[in-house]
């Protein structure tokens, strides 16, 4: 598949502190990619490099088949960045800001912008600074959707939104991705959002990627079984190559399996288990297992705190 973003050996240093350290990153065109990392891991830096507003100290970045240089203004007709806490012009009225966006973007969809702003119950005559953080974030998203970008970079886009608006917004993003084939990168602390939306996921830790995988293969690779024995479990039963982790609670054991599930389930049935039942494993647990197995400390998983 054609990449929407391709970075190779990218390094970025701020005032002597390395924000990104020889990073390679690829996001496939048309996919929704979740980017997870603790505060200060380098997520925002990575997105701004992809946007072309920050310039790498080393390495090469290609976005939508165009190698980034210094200006990159033309490219940003097709790449849109949305971040919570990013200041929209505070003294503009909402309609003035949308008018400005309409002048700015070649593919601006006025009707869609109007519809979205009305759906979000934002008054066109409101001054932007009078809107709540959540409403400003919603307004930014409405602008991003109406600009119809080929690549949408979302930096904690749902922070400050109430549950109902957040659900609406996530639905809008999924609809947009489905209708327009928009590539989205979603940098967030919220793993539920990633689990719901993303096709692939990366975990960034102190300026380096520690995990980069499709969600399907990640989920297909890690499973959990609940097994119940007649009496106490013997340790020898768990000495299997595909068993990554075991948590015993008397007769019940929770077994994390890496790789195909069925052979391990069959092994427990043969060992006399009363019950062998697959149970759901959420994405956070999968990340924790994968990263701990790779030798990263719990500090790596601070995004899950």
């Amino acid at each position: 598949m054609r990449p929407a973003i391709e970075m190779s050996d990218v390094t970025k240093v701020f005032g002597g502190k390395m924000a990104l350290n020889h990073v390679d990153w690829r996001v496939d065109a048309g996919s929704i990619h979740g980017l997870i990392g603790a505060n200060g891991a380098g997520k925002t830096t990575l997105l701004r490099l992809a946007l072309g507003t920050l310039w790498p100290d080393q390495g090469r970045i290609e976005v939508l088949d165009q190698q980034l240089g210094r200006e990159n203004a033309d490219l940003r007709q097709h790449v849109h960045y949305v971040a919570t806490g990013r200041s929209l012009p505070p003294h503009f009225r909402v309609d003035e800001w949308l008018h400005y966006m309409g002048l700015l973007y070649d593919r601006w969809d006025e009707r869609r912008a109007r519809h979205l702003v009305e759906a979000m119950e934002i008054s066109a005559s409101s001054i932007i600074r009078s809107l709540s953080t959540g409403m400003q974030a919603s307004l930014q998203l409405a602008g991003a959707i109406a600009a119809r970008p080929a690549l949408l970079l979302l930096d904690e886009p749902t922070n400050g939104m109430d549950v109902v608006v957040k659900r609406q917004v996530l639905q809008l993003m999924m609809d947009m991705a489905a209708a327009e084939g928009t590539t989205m990168v979603l940098a967030t602390h919220n793993i539920e959002d990633v689990e719901r939306l993303a096709d692939s996921v990366s975990v960034l830790y102190r300026g380096r990627f520690v995990l980069n995988s499709s969600l399907e293969s990640l989920k297909g690779h890690m499973h959990r079984l609940q097994v119940v024995a007649d009496g106490e479990w013997s340790d020898a039963v768990f000495a299997q190559p595909h068993i990554a982790h075991v948590e015993k609670r008397g007769q019940v054991a929770l077994v994390t399996v890496e790789g195909p599930l069925e052979p391990v389930a069959a092994h427990f049935r043969e060992a006399g288990a009363l019950l062998v039942e697959p149970i759901d494993m959420d994405l956070a647990e999968i990340f924790r297992m994968v990263l701990e197995k790779e030798g990263y400390s719990r500090d790596t998983l601070a995004w899950d705190a």
Partner: protein
């Protein structure tokens, strides 16, 4: 349903960057133009409304005694403040950083500020010139129009030069304080040089740089006119020459402004200086000030200007290194901003 107002009324600009610049800074452009014209309106209304002698008053205005001369310094100073304001306002309230994340070139953003600023200043001077020319014709002094053109040209160019110099500093510095200081120093520099040359050469029995000087000494006259804020103003061909100098300067610094603006990494946009080397000028400024102070305290007969300047220079060199060391220490331990290394 919330009523939709569509395209806001009065938003006649079809270019996104110009629209944004006007929306963010329109109060500054309008206020600057009004304040530039205000003293002139007072002078004119007083002259026209005064009892008797109106013709004499109007002749005086057109003939410069109360006309373009006093207005020049006022308008030029306001032009500098306007440049400072359009950057400051955009950085602090206008969302300049955010606008750079859109499909807008940095060049276009700066050009919009340059265009609207020059348009404001030119508009004011054209209005003044047209009014004065009309008065000159009305009172039968058509011969004054020629000198008026020259005076207006010189004044316009000097105001545009200060606007462009301040824009240029604003494009290389993320701090309004340093931008203002740099512009002020640039304005003062020719007057300081003029004063220093005069004082130093007094000791040799020459009075260089005086406007009344003659012969070879005239090579140094009018240094002060290189400053945009002068006492009086040049006239005739000298004024045209200086107008040309200011126009060339405006073009040069405008070009430098665009280069600096386009080359600065985004992460440095709020640093006092985009280019770390510029800190050296700050140390030099502090060294000169403190050098003058130390010289005045320690040198006998430092009341002599020449001794004071030479003393300040001698003390200034070690003080430059001292200030550099102090500032780096402060920026590491106490200040939130300062040189990075």
């Amino acid at each position: 349903m919330i009523p939709w107002r569509g395209t806001p009324k009065g938003q006649w600009m079809r270019d996104a960057v110009s629209f944004r610049e006007w929306r963010v800074n329109r109060s500054l452009y309008i206020t600057a133009a009004a304040v530039m014209l205000f003293p002139w309106i007072l002078i004119l209304s007083t002259s026209i409304g005064g009892p008797g002698g109106e013709l004499l008053e109007l002749r005086a205005i057109v003939g410069d005694n109360a006309g373009l001369g006093p207005m020049n310094g006022w308008i030029t100073a306001l032009a500098g403040l306007l440049a400072l304001g359009v950057f400051w306002n955009d950085r602090s309230r206008g969302g300049l950083d955010t606008s750079m994340e859109g499909p807008v070139s940095r060049r276009a953003l700066l050009m919009a500020k340059i265009r609207l600023g020059i348009f404001t200043i030119t508009g004011v001077w054209v209005l003044l010139f047209v009014t004065l020319a009309f008065i000159a014709l009305a009172i039968g002094q058509a011969g004054l129009i020629g000198p008026l053109v020259v005076a207006a040209l010189w004044s316009l160019c000097s105001a545009v030069a200060l606007y462009m110099v301040t824009v240029s500093f604003g494009a290389a510095m993320g701090s309004v304080f340093f931008t203002a200081l740099a512009s002020l120093l640039w304005v003062m520099l020719p007057r300081i040089v003029d004063s220093v040359v005069f004082q130093l050469t007094l000791g040799f029995g020459q009075r260089l740089s005086l406007a009344t000087a003659t012969g070879w000494e005239t090579t140094l006259i009018d240094i002060r006119w290189f400053s945009v804020l002068t006492d009086g103003r040049p006239t005739g061909w000298v004024a045209v020459l200086y107008a040309g100098y200011f126009a060339a300067l405006a073009l040069f610094v405008g070009w430098r402004a665009l280069v600096w603006w386009q080359r600065t990494p985004m992460e440095r946009f709020h640093d006092p200086f985009y280019y770390p080397q510029l800190w050296n000028f700050w140390y030099a400024f502090l060294a000169i000030l403190s050098g003058m102070f130390v010289a005045a305290l320690t040198i006998p007969n430092a009341g002599s200007q020449a001794r004071l300047y030479v003393g300040a220079l001698v003390f200034g060199v070690p003080l430059w290194f001292l200030w550099r060391w102090i500032w780096r220490l402060l920026s590491r331990n106490a200040l939130s901003w300062g040189p990075q290394s």
